[in-house]
Amino acid sequence: MNAITQTSPTAIVAYLVLFATIGILFVFGCLLLGKFFRPRTPTALKLETYECGEPSVGPGTVQFDLRFYVVALLFLIFEVEVALFFPTATIFGAATKARREAAQTAVSTAAPTATLVVDKRDERTAISPESARTLALVSMIDLGAFFAVLLVGFAFIWRRGDLNWVRAVRHPATSAEANAAALRLRQDGFPT
């Protein structure tokens, strides 16, 4: 922050432009240099896609099994919930730390206090051990309730069979159109 405010704005832009130009020129310069030096002998074998030395099989853009997709969707939901854990976990960590600090200061001083915010050790942000305990407890209960609800949902999809790899066919295709669609599905790939 200080370094930025001390340098003049024009100098910053000048540096930015300089580094960007050098970077871009370097990339293209290297490619251009290689073009001059490398021998050019294209053969059918050389133009083939490199696949670890093995003979290449089929195009690169194949369709994955759609079942991967379902698993990915479920993963997406259960993974992002960690974002909601984050604030609660932060509070829990800070509260337990504050409580430990308060317990340590209690040995040396008469009034056991600690702060949640480290750099502001004043009256308004001071926290008593009881408050720290309440805070930790509340955040734990909060998280527990939240996670329990999530687990119910998880158990439901498990029971429903959405996680099974080999799935029992529960809904036979009703119309000829659905059959045709399924056939097309097997034949061509996922549009890219």
Partner: protein, 112 residues
């Protein structure tokens, strides 16, 4: 061109988020593939998120900030976006099962 000459502040964040928003809206309106449209929506949401983060940071906009509210809303937007994306993708998957395509334009059974 004063924006290029001053230290990074609130306006820079707003410009980036506005660019993200415009890119997202363009992507939403011009793409024919559902996945492309969903990517556009994600861009718009990321723009909103960047706004919330910038407005919520005392380092960026001084005293009149959203504070923790901004950061919390940003967290929730991430989760909401993921939930929405998961549902939309599942619906797209189902659409692919019945139509064997994910082009929104091909959806012409219902006259829009």
């Amino acid at each position: 061109m004063s924006i290029f000459c001053e230290p990074v502040g609130l306006s820079h964040y707003l410009v980036v988020s506005a660019i993200l928003f415009v890119c997202g809206v363009l992507c939403m309106t011009t793409k024919r593939n559902v996945l492309g449209v969903l990517m556009g929506i994600e861009l718009v949401l990321n723009g909103a998120n960047l706004n919330f983060m910038a407005f919520g940071s005392p380092a960026i906009c001084g005293t009149s900030t959203l504070g923790l509210d901004g950061q919390l809303i940003a967290l929730f937007v991430i989760v909401l976006a993921a939930a929405e994306a998961a549902v939309a993708l599942a619906i797209a998957l189902n659409y692919y099962h019945t139509h064997a395509t994910v082009d929104v334009d091909r959806g012409n059974e219902l006259k829009g």
